[in-house]
Symmetry: D2
Subunit: 366 residues, 4 copies
């Protein structure tokens, strides 16, 4: 990874600011011959698109992705795929306040300190808008994964919003696409709506936890020790705006477990070894076990809120700042498709890495 690029063989370089003419990414290293068109990518972007309900920013962006290179006659050519999304709703407005003062909890101040200059319009490069590029790249990764590992399936959903968690006993995957929170629990979906409404009306915002699960990941993806599958997943998820924590399997809760409890015992199944539990989240020693890969990450509450917060201006004057504008009360909602996209990119990258080093040959058991 280097500045604005992630991945080893399947490499994604994103570019663009919230209020520039466009954002996008270059996807390099994609296998050739994968069927791909804008129509394959657009549905993923539509899931992340702003303005779809009252719980996300009201910015109106079609988020139409264009493929500018790397695809010929409907198939990837193995050369870089340039994806571009034009910014159409950069509302003409007065940025005077944000231009001069730093939003508490926001990257305004650090961008200024590091670079001595920042594109303050809509958060510039630090805007969550950048994640549209990730979702587009994730769409390419999904297309390649579909060709290479037909059964692989990636599903993201919210498991916590603010102080409200889901009840895993009510877990229903079908529910995920039925509510604005991507929450797999119909009861929670109703409760959360009230909860978030209240927060929004009180000019506040709230954090969230997203879980992303990949089923059908073959055993053997990953690498010791600094390109471990979990190490790369951690970097990928932590690179998403506002993420403050990443967990694999039991995650932070594994600290409270004993070795007896945590051991995922193994039995022989019809097709090889089978685990009796998945505390490991599908990864042991940085390498996939063949079980579902389970990753969670926490998104902090949106820092742009209508409640005044103490801060300073670039000139060094103390002030109270209210952030107007069209901000998500829970930016974690739109992080769900982003987390899925990062999972797709990391898995494809490791599939290619593994194929490169080992040729995909697997050690036999039994």
């Amino acid at each position: 990874m280097s500045l604005n690029t992630f991945g080893h063989l399947f490499r994604v370089t994103t570019w663009g600011e919230s209020h520039g003419p466009a954002i996008g990414c270059t996807v390099d290293g994609c296998p050739p011959g994968v069927t791909l068109s804008e129509a394959d990518l657009q549905p993923w972007l539509d899931r992340r698109k702003p303005g779809q309900n009252k719980y996300t920013t009201q910015r109106k962006e079609p988020d139409e992705v264009r493929i500018l290179s790397g695809v010929f006659e409907g198939k990837t050519t193995g050369t870089p795929i340039q994806l571009m999304i034009e910014n159409t709703d950069q509302r003409s407005k007065d940025y005077g306040e944000i231009a001069g003062a730093f939003r508490p909890g926001h990257a305004d101040i650090t961008y200024h300190q590091k670079y001595g200059i920042r594109d303050y319009r809509g958060g510039g490069r630090s805007s969550a808008r950048e994640t549209a590029s990730r979702v587009a790249a994730g769409g390419v990764a999904r297309a390649a994964l579909a060709a290479l590992v037909p059964g692989l399936k990636i599903t993201g959903y919210m498991v916590q919003m603010g102080v409200k968690g889901i009840d895993r006993a009510r877990f229903d995957a079908v529910e995920i696409e039925q509510n604005p929170f991507w929450v797999p629990d119909a009861v929670a979906a109703v409760e959360w709506a009230d909860y978030l409404d209240a927060l929004r009306l009180s000019h506040n915002s709230v954090g969230a936890v997203i879980e992303v699960v990949a089923d059908g990941v073959p055993a053997g993806l990953g690498a010791p020790l600094y390109a471990k599958l979990d190490s790369d997943l951690a970097a990928a998820m932590m690179s998403i705006n506002a993420v403050k924590g990443v967990e694999i399997g039991e995650g932070m809760a594994s600290a409270a477990l004993t070795g007896v409890e945590n051991a995922d015992e193994i039995r022989m199944g019809l097709d090889g070894p089978e685990f009796l539990s998945n505390h490991a989240g599908g990864i042991l020693g940085g390498i996939s076990t063949g079980q579902p890969v389970v990753c969670r990450f926490a998104v902090k509450p949106t820092s742009s809120i209508l409640t005044p917060r103490q801060t300073v201006t670039q000139a060094g004057q103390e002030t109270d700042l209210i952030t107007k504008g069209r901000h998500d009360p829970c930016v974690g909602i739109r992080a769900v498709p982003v987390g899925e996209a990062m999972m797709a990119c990391v898995l494809l990258d490791h599939l290619l890495l593994d194929r490169g080093q080992t040729g995909g040959v697997r050690g036999r058991i039994g």
Copy 2:
């Protein structure tokens, strides 16, 4: 990062297995002219060294580090620094059982599946012994940081072991070096001793949470978006054996906060802006704020335990496995110096990266 290398400019490549002749690492990109000798590195290694008390493995390793290159007349030359630690206590024993069967919760099975071959002696490459190389590399990073950022201080300690947490009201940094758990709470140190004794005697093990804090980190380190300081810290900590979760600042708990609570408000101090809180853990938008950088990670319980667990052999036969040998009942204890080392490496790397891109110039406030 690539397989066994981490870092962008300050790059560490580790090598070696638990029971081979030696382990070590190549440290590339270190600034020249840094005062460095084995005596500067050994104290850090001694902190991680096994066999120091009954709570860590009884393997007897002097862990003497040798500098084989890159240092001339007591100073680094800017060329690669090779650090080697000989393995002296690879006890001659029968590995028959581990050689044939896979420890539940251990990387045995995934190494076999991926590579079709594994050095099963003492865990081979997946042994926690590899972390000695990280600590040695961290010692080099600390020496360079001491020269470049005199006030910078890195402190690691345990905040949770199993179900036992510390009481932050009793936090006492002096206490950290006074007990075998690196715990900054004298009362906890006593309780934890009993707790771990009981677990050990019942042939069990337990997980832990380690917190690493870096004070004196200048504002402006980090980079958007995939080489964010927090993204690289997450990758670095997750690359440590047995780590299953990583948090920055509030971490997973940030999900439960509101935007009003989470905003680290800013006032002007004598030397520039000052934050009234540090929910962010010293990082906003992937870039350091100048506040303490706070990182936590969870270590799962040691998988090698004396309690029988169900597993399979390489031949595909089901069996119950007891892992004999000299294993840490809480491998999290020895992860404290390792976490510190990773923090040191990541911070130095980002210091060099920042100096490369910006020349170290900072945007003014006031």
Copy 3:
């Protein structure tokens, strides 16, 4: 370097095909605060632009570059700079012949063999058109270099076309911009015109040697051993389409020299050491000496010619192929600004790398 990216800290990722909607590149790692606009880049692109005289392809491309990100209020922000050049003259024509048969000496066949698919329109990704992106990136590098190393000057020119070389006794830098060949020798310029006319009319093409010199490069840029300044220059120049050889200083001719002849003797000047000759081409041990950095590369003759050549079709049938279309009789001419651009990118990259590792401090002499 990785597939379509080059550079360590100043990283350029190019994308796009000859006949797609656009080509471009992402420039990552540029220092912040550099004055930059499209007007700064366009002159460099205009020098490479096709159709400027009868010796280059008659394709009519305005090659207008747009900056889509990374620049705010006329200055670079330190975030990725996306440069896009639309393809406007993708002449609608029948590609039937090239689509089916492989041009001898061209990448048609290897792209097909590697990827099983190729965008044959105008050569697709292997078209010299890709070099426009390099020139644009080079323009960014020049702007940054101008800010960081004011006296640095990069000059490229042709020293050989086919069997015709320049007479170094007539070397006149002013002449370079006065003729269509970028040749610093007025007599040669006239002769070469006749020579190339004859070749063109006989449906043939010819190779060339380009020399690129950088004056004012500070001592100390480069790094042992695989990121040597000359190693990176060699990779950069060899990555240009049709380049088959790269030389530093005496280059291949150094083989014929003795150690006595080749020693660039050193005397003390007013500002430090001075070399009495520059056989080394400004680089010793991979690190710049402070003398002019001298690099040469050979460009093979254009493979797309009107003379029939034996080849095979994708279906495996033997055929004779004439390549119609608008092809440069000496593609080396337009390689001059490309070579300059690569020199600029490599030097800036090493300037940043050096600043990162050493802070730019230099060992004193005297």
Copy 4:
């Protein structure tokens, strides 16, 4: 590539100085299951070993390589392979003169300028001794290539020494191992002996051109545009000490060819397309054609000679320097096995890269 590492997937990081305790390298990314022992590597090192005849340095080094990691029960495990070669003949001597003055044509001055410190003993990091590590790594690459591409064969030899070239009409591969110059021309071998004797006795040295040919390279290795096979070969060869030029196929001579001459025409053979010539040196568009890959590089004359040359001291005083010690009169001789090793490393790296991206599938012809 980054400082002291080269390669994308098959990555080699070398370390060590001429007169430190040892030199070596870490080889990361090697495929697992490759048969490997010290006995497989030693023969390659013996070919490069100093002191084998009067035309190479008389330093007596056994150059015994030890494998410290990454191999288990005679097979590679897929984890990093550490190779170490102890320095045994660091003759205790007075380095006073070289310590204080800079050898003209040597890296002494640039290392000092860049780092402000240098290990002057025997040239330190810039010593040709570092190439032993490359040869060891090349031995690993050869072992892996032998397993993956059985017919692949790499042969290096000298084609020019000083003003003396070989007569290609007398080319005899058997001759290469029969003379101290690795020259495939028995007549030249005799002439060169006299020529070099005379140069050596007159306290002089001389340059050389080495050609390395790889037969049996499958079509399809390489990648556009900055990880082209030729671009990586150019970087690899230019990274060898004292190399000043690199050529692929016709190399610099391609400038003098016409398109008609340079076209490698294609016919259908029994096993697919066959080229009627190989001006391209087996690479088109950065991708291998299936023909022999042909690379040449020029090595400048040894700068350490007994003839006095003008230079300056670190204190800034002018002086005449004679370099005593055990130096090769033609360092190009020992560069032959080094060039072969670099070719092996680059080819294996690209084989793994290609397998990663494409799965090794090839586009059909016929």
